[in-house]
């Protein structure tokens, strides 16, 4: 089943936002604040009425020029940015508001059964999010809509919640659309990422594609880092060695264990025709995959990473696709952004 937005136009303060998007698995919408990300979610849930277009889930049409299914009849699980838990109800009552008798089941699933009788104001941010998730899931949604699911959390909680959310979403067979202003959150949780700016969807694709072949300078500036998935093969001397899916070993100075995702910014990677003999621990060697020029900068793809260098450097090195090069970056330039449970 998929959520399909076809040529949907939603009114924003200054202009209309227009987009077409097909959501299968998890898709993240990223963009600066005011880009209309949340409005898109609200339109799917029925809380905002689009000017035109079609919104459909599977073979059910929720909105088109003739149809406008009321909010309560659209089975959309909506996770609000501040979670919107009912303050006058216990945790269990909150969950059962969505479906009577479902409380224990969903509290168990999210491992918060011990909180059943607590009031929302007694909970931590991470706990509130789990309650809100349990409540949305108890609705048995056909679509999950998450509005900045991680922004209300402090940095420490964020990492563990991100991991849990990732596992939860992987175990659900529900198309999920979530919005965030943080590209790393998007990359860590979503199969595909859409970049929204000035009322249009600039580009949609897997993160690696957005980083290596950004459609325009805005996408390039917004899609921060290369994200490399792998598992920790060895650790010692304050450096962990991560074996990537293609066998490449990358060293990181951050503590890591089990399955990890490493982030490296393209501008922290250097490219040269010869293997460097300097402090950089990581060297990726291979032919130049792609060169995408954006003004005075160029994104150059080598193996699993993309480097950002000036177009002047491209000319100086005479880089052409297919040339053998060595991309280097320091272990201290890598960051662990998502860790799955060991």
């Amino acid at each position: 089943m998929a959520l399909v937005l076809d040529n949907v136009a939603v009114p924003l303060r200054a202009f209309d936002l227009r987009l077409s998007l097909e959501v299968e698995g998890t898709v993240a919408l990223v963009g600066p604040s005011g880009a209309g990300k949340t409005t898109v979610l609200r339109a799917v849930a029925g809380l905002v009425r689009p000017r035109s277009g079609t919104i459909a889930v599977g073979d059910e049409t929720w909105f088109d020029c003739r149809t406008d299914v009321p909010v309560e009849e659209r089975a959309a699980g909506f996770l609000f940015q501040d979670y919107a838990l009912f303050p006058h109800m216990t945790v269990k009552k909150n969950v059962e508001y969505a479906r009577k008798g479902a409380g224990d089941d969903y509290l168990e699933r999210l491992r918060i059964r011990h909180l059943a009788d607590a009031r929302p104001r007694e909970l931590s941010g991470g706990e509130r999010q789990r309650v809100a998730l349990a409540r949305s899931l108890a609705r048995d949604p056909k679509v999950l809509l998450l509005d900045e699911p991680l922004s209300a959390l402090d940095a420490h909680t964020k990492a563990s919640v991100r991991r849990e959310l990732r596992e939860l979403l992987a175990g659900l067979d529900v198309p999920t659309l979530f919005v965030t202003h943080d590209f790393e959150d998007a990359a860590a949780l979503a199969d595909r990422v859409g970049v929204l700016a000035d009322g249009t969807l600039r580009q949609v694709g897997p993160t690696a594609e957005l980083v290596s072949r950004p459609a325009d300078p805005f996408v390039a500036s917004f899609t921060g880092a290369n994200l490399l998935r792998g598992h920790v093969a060895a650790a010692g001397n304050g450096v962990a060695r991560v074996r990537l899916e293609d066998g490449l070993i990358v060293s990181t100075a951050e503590p890591a264990q089990g399955e990890v995702v490493l982030a490296i910014y393209p501008w922290d990677i250097t490219i040269g025709p010869d293997p460097p003999h300097d402090s950089a621990l990581n060297v990726v060697s291979g032919p130049v995959r792609t060169i995408a020029e954006l003004g005075n900068r160029a994104r150059v793809g080598i193996g699993p990473v993309t480097a950002e260098i000036t177009t002047e450097s491209v000319r100086r090195l005479g880089l052409q696709p297919g040339d053998m090069v060595h991309a280097a970056f320091k272990a201290t330039a890598t960051r662990v952004v998502a860790t799955s449970t060991p």
Binding site: L47, G77, F78, A84, F86, P87, A98, R135
Partner: protein
């Protein structure tokens, strides 16, 4: 130097003592005028008994009408933005600043025999209900608007996305969260309505057993049976204090049961 600190402190303390004594003495006077036993026996006289029945009956009906009509009005004004909204809010507040005598004249020109809508209402018990409802409604509707505005719109949206229609959402989310604010408003409105004098005497007259409420009976007995007037005053004081105390309890309960901010102005006149 020391004197510069002591003198203002003494002056402030003195001003506070005078203010509080000024507020306390009239109330105290009512209760020390006669013995409690005498007060009780005076309440047995027919004028007082009739007035109490008329007051309670008309107040209850007026407050019922205010809640039934005022609650949806307040919810509409709190949650919808439409042209003329600020005019509507001004209209809701108008009886607060209108002198009660003017309200009485206004009700006549609206619902009197020669009024905009000609009716037989004047000088009936219905007229008392109408006068009380007109004068005391802002004290319920204004806090009700504030209470509804304080309910986080995301909670309403959340309820809808969880499968609850507008009616269930109102009953299970909006009303419980606004409840304390509504109850506080109702207590104020009730107290104001119970003391209504000006608009009632002009629009409904002062007929014992029909339109003579406690305040009207107090005024009528003032020259004939002062003891009965004092006894009825004592009764009104007790009811008012009971309302004020329950209001305070409601407000402290509210602040610990919800997180929404809620303010309203205490303003009674006439």
């Amino acid at each position: 130097m020391r004197l510069g600190r002591i003198v203002p402190a003494v002056l402030v303390g003195l001003a506070a003592a005078v203010s509080l004594a000024f507020l306390l003495l009239p109330v105290l006077g009512i209760f020390v005028h006669t013995t409690p036993r005498h007060l009780l026996s005076q309440l047995g006289n027919p004028v007082a008994k009739d007035a109490l029945v008329v007051s309670l009956k008309t107040s209850a009906l007026a407050q019922l009408a205010i809640v039934l009509l005022g609650t949806p009005t307040a919810y509409l004004l709190a949650t919808r933005r439409f042209p003329g909204r600020s005019f509507a809010i001004t209209l809701v507040e108008l009886p607060l600043v209108l002198p009660p005598a003017v309200a009485g004249i206004g009700l006549f020109t609206a619902f009197g025999h020669m009024g905009l809508i000609s009716t037989n209402v004047p000088f009936t018990q219905t007229a008392v209900v109408v006068a009380v409802a007109f004068v005391s409604s802002p004290l319920y509707v204004r806090p009700a608007i504030a209470a509804f505005e304080a309910v986080d719109p995301d909670l309403v949206a959340a309820s809808r996305t969880l499968g609850a229609g507008p009616v269930r959402t109102f009953g299970r989310v909006v009303l419980p969260l606004a409840r304390a604010g509504l109850a506080a408003g109702l207590a104020l409105s009730f107290a104001r309505g119970l003391g209504e004098f000006g608009a009632t005497i002009m629009f409904a007259g002062s007929l014992q057993g029909v339109t003579q409420t406690l305040p009207l009976a107090i005024y009528a007995e003032f020259n004939q049976n002062f003891d009965a007037a004092v006894a009825m005053s004592a009764l009104l004081v007790l009811v008012s204090v009971a309302l004020l105390v329950s209001l305070r309890l409601l407000l402290s309960w509210r602040s610990s049961s919800t997180t929404s901010p809620f303010r309203f102005g205490l303003s009674t006149s006439g």
